[in-house]
Amino acid sequence: MEVVRVDNLTKVYGRGDTQTVALVDANLRVQQGELVALLGPSGSGKTTLLTSICCINEPTRGRIELDGTCVYDDGWTGVDVRAVRRQKMGVIFQAYNLIPFLTVLENVALILTLNGVGQQEAQGRALELLEYLEMESRWQRYPSEISGGERQRVAIARALANNPKVLLADEPTAALDTARGKIVMSLLRKLSREKEAAVIVVTHDERMVEGFDRIYNIADGRIQ
C-alpha cells in the first residue's frame, strides 16, 4: 500500500532575480514497510522535499498524498496537517528539536499525551522505547545534559513513539561517527520491517546506503 505519494511536486523559493528552483516535477512513491533513501548533493532539494511532505513547507505546485489523504493539490487541501503529523508521522530533523524544558522521558511521552494517551501509559511506553535505544539510564536528564548522539537517539525515540505510518529523517547520521550512524540506520531499518512504516531517509552520505529497499537520487531538484 502506498503511504507516501508525491506527484509533479515543484518548489520555487523567492521571486524575480533571487528565485531558486528547489524541486522540479518531483515524483515519489513509498510503500508500507519500505525503507527508501534520498541521495543527493548539497542544495539539491532533499530537505525541501521532506519538509513539503510533512507539510511545514508550502510547495509551489503539484500533489501530495499521505496514507490515502490528499494534503496538497496545487494548494493545501484544508486537511488538519498538524493532526496528520501528530497521528501518522514521525519526523527527525538534523537539529533534533527536543523541547529543552522537558526531560528525555517527557520529550518522548509528550507526543503520546498529545494523542490522548494517559500520562502513566505514555511514560511507560516512552521508557520502553528509550530502553530499546539504550537510553533508559538518561531518562531524567534534560536535553542540555546529554551528548549530541544521545539527543539524536531521543529524537528517534520520539519519532517512533506514536508508531508512525510515515517516518521522515533528515540526515540522521550526518553528525555521527560511522559506528553510531550504522546503529541509527539499523534502527530505522528495524522500524520499517517490524512496524510496517514507510521510512524516508535523506542523506548525502554514501557510506550509509546499504540496506535500503530503494534509493532515489536527486540532483538540481529532479528525482532520477
Binding site: 498538524r82 493532526a83 519526523v91 530533523f93 523541547i99 500520562q119
Partner: protein
C-alpha cells in the same frame, strides 16, 4: 506534564520577581479598596452609632459635621414634646488638639447628656461615664488606656473607658465627655480673657449715662450672664417611636422656622458627599491605573516568555501539537502569574492593613471582584503572546542548531 509550569521553571527568578512586583501593585489596589471602605465607615461612624433618626441643627446650616451649627441645648425639651419623638438629647462635636507624650494628636470630642442619646455605643474596656465631670471615654485608636489622664482646656480628665473603632468622619480617634464638660472645654476662657470680657461689657454699660444707675447695674449683670452662657449644643438628636415617622417629624419641626432638620439618612449623605466624594474619585483613578499597569506588566512578561520559546513552539507545531496546547501553555502562564501575584498581594495586605494610619476595611466582595478582574486582565494580557505564538512558522524550528 504541564508545559506552562515546565517552561516557567527555566525562568524561575524572572517569574518570581514579577510575581512579587505584581503582588505589591495588587497590595496597593487592595489597600485602596480597603481605604475606600474605611473612608465610608469613618465618615458615617458617628451617625451610624447614634441611635437617632432625626438630627436638628442650626437654621440654614448643614451641620453639625459638614458645617458648624450652634443651638441652645434646652430646645431638647420642645423637641421631646413633638408627637412621635420618644426622646431627644443635645450633642456637641469638636476637634481638640492634645499633646500625647511629646507628639501632638487630634481627638474628636463628642459631648453628650449622661443618660441621653449619643454616648459611647459600646465599651471595649473599663466603663462608661457615670460622673458629670472630669471623666472621659476615648477610642483605643488614640493610644490611651484606662487610668490615663488627658488635659483638655483648663482641666485634666480621667480615662474611664475605651471604645473600639469610633472615629471622626475624617478618621481621628473619638472621645466622649459629658455635654457639660464639652461646653466647658469649648467655651471656658482663662481668667485673663474673662476679666477682659467683663471690662468690655462694663465699659459699654458705663458709657450709657442716660440709664439710671440701678437699672444699669441690673442690665450689666444680665449682659455678663448672657455673654458667659455656654449652654449650647451643636445638634439635638431625636429617637422616634418608629423610624418611619422621620419625614413627618422633620416636616413638623421645620415648620417652626427656627431649625434645620435632617434624617439620619440625610446626615449620612451629607457626610459621604462632604468627606469622601473626591477621595472616592481619586481612589478609583489610582486603582484603575494600577490595574492597567498590572495588565501591561503581565502582557510584557508573557510576551517575552513567549518570544524566548518561539523555537520550542515551532517544534511543538512540527510534532503536531494543536493550537489548543500552545494557547493553554501561554494562558496558564499568564493566569499563574496573576494568581501568584494576587496571593502575594493578599498575604501582604492581610499582614499589614492594621498598620495603616487610615482605617483599612478589607471586604470579601472587594477581594472577589479584584480576583475576577485579575483573571480577566491575565486573559487579555496573554493575547499578545498567543497571537505571536500562533503566527510562528513551524519551519523556524529547522534552521540553526
Amino acid at each position: 506534564m504541564n508545559l506552562a509550569v515546565r517552561d516557567i521553571r527555566r525562568h524561575k527568578i524572572r517569574f518570581l520577581l514579577t510575581c512579587v512586583g505584581l503582588g505589591l501593585l495588587l497590595t496597593v489596589v487592595m489597600a485602596m479598596s480597603g481605604i475606600y471602605r474605611g473612608l465610608i465607615n469613618d465618615a458615617t461612624e458617628v451617625v451610624d452609632a447614634t441611635p437617632a433618626q432625626i438630627w436638628v441643627v442650626q437654621k440654614d446650616t448643614r451641620g453639625p459635621f459638614a458645617e458648624s451649627s450652634r443651638l441652645p441645648e434646652d430646645i431638647e425639651y420642645s423637641i421631646s414634646a413633638v408627637k412621635g419623638v420618644r426622646r431627644a438629647s443635645p450633642v456637641s462635636f469638636q476637634y481638640v488638639q492634645i499633646q500625647r507624650g511629646n507628639k501632638p494628636a487630634r481627638l474628636f470630642l463628642i459631648g453628650y447628656k449622661l443618660g441621653g442619646i449619643g454616648g459611647p455605643p459600646a465599651i471595649a474596656a473599663g466603663r462608661t461615664i457615670t460622673k458629670k465631670h472630669y471623666e472621659i471615654v476615648v477610642d483605643r485608636k488614640s493610644g490611651y488606656a484606662v487610668g490615663d489622664t488627658i488635659r483638655l482646656g483648663l482641666e485634666a480628665y480621667n480615662v474611664v473607658g475605651l471604645t473600639r473603632g469610633m472615629t471622626s468622619p475624617s478618621g481621628d480617634a473619638a472621645a466622649f465627655v459629658s455635654l457639660a464638660d464639652a461646653q466647658i472645654i469649648q467655651f471656658q476662657l482663662d481668667n485673663d480673657a474673662i476679666r477682659n470680657n467683663r471690662q468690655r461689657v462694663i465699659a459699654t454699660f458705663t458709657a450709657l449715662n442716660s440709664m439710671n444707675p440701678f437699672m444699669r447695674e441690673k442690665a450689666t449683670n444680665k449682659a455678663l450672664a448672657a455673654a458667659e452662657n455656654s449652654h449650647f449644643a451643636n445638634a439635638i438628636v431625636a429617637e422616634l417611636d418608629d423610624a418611619s415617622l422621620a419625614p413627618e417629624v422633620a416636616r413638623y419641626i421645620r415648620r417652626w422656622n427656627h431649625y434645620q432638620v435632617f434624617s439620619a439618612e440625610q446626615e449620612r449623605e451629607l457626610l459621604l458627599k462632604g468627606f469622601i466624594e473626591k477621595s472616592q474619585k481619586q481612589l478609583w483613578l489610582f486603582r484603575t491605573i494600577l490595574v492597567v499597569v498590572s495588565g501591561v506588566i503581565i502582557a510584557l512578561i508573557i510576551y517575552t516568555l513567549t518570544m524566548d520559546k518561539l523555537r520550542e513552539i515551532a517544534t511543538l507545531k512540527i510534532i503536531g501539537a494543536p493550537d489548543r496546547t500552545i494557547v493553554n501553555m501561554i494562558l496558564q502562564q499568564s493566569l499563574l502569574l496573576g494568581v501568584m501575584g494576587f496571593a502575594v498581594g493578599y498575604v501582604v495586605i492581610t499582614q499589614t492593613y492594621a498598620m495603616y494610619p487610615r482605617t483599612v476595611l478589607l471586604q470579601t466582595l472587594d477581594m472577589v471582584v479584584l480576583f475576577a478582574i485579575v483573571v480577566v486582565i491575565c486573559v487579555l494580557a496573554s493575547i499578545l503572546g498567543i497571537w505571536r505564538a500562533l503566527k510562528v512558522d513551524p519551519a523556524t524550528a529547522l534552521s540553526g542548531g
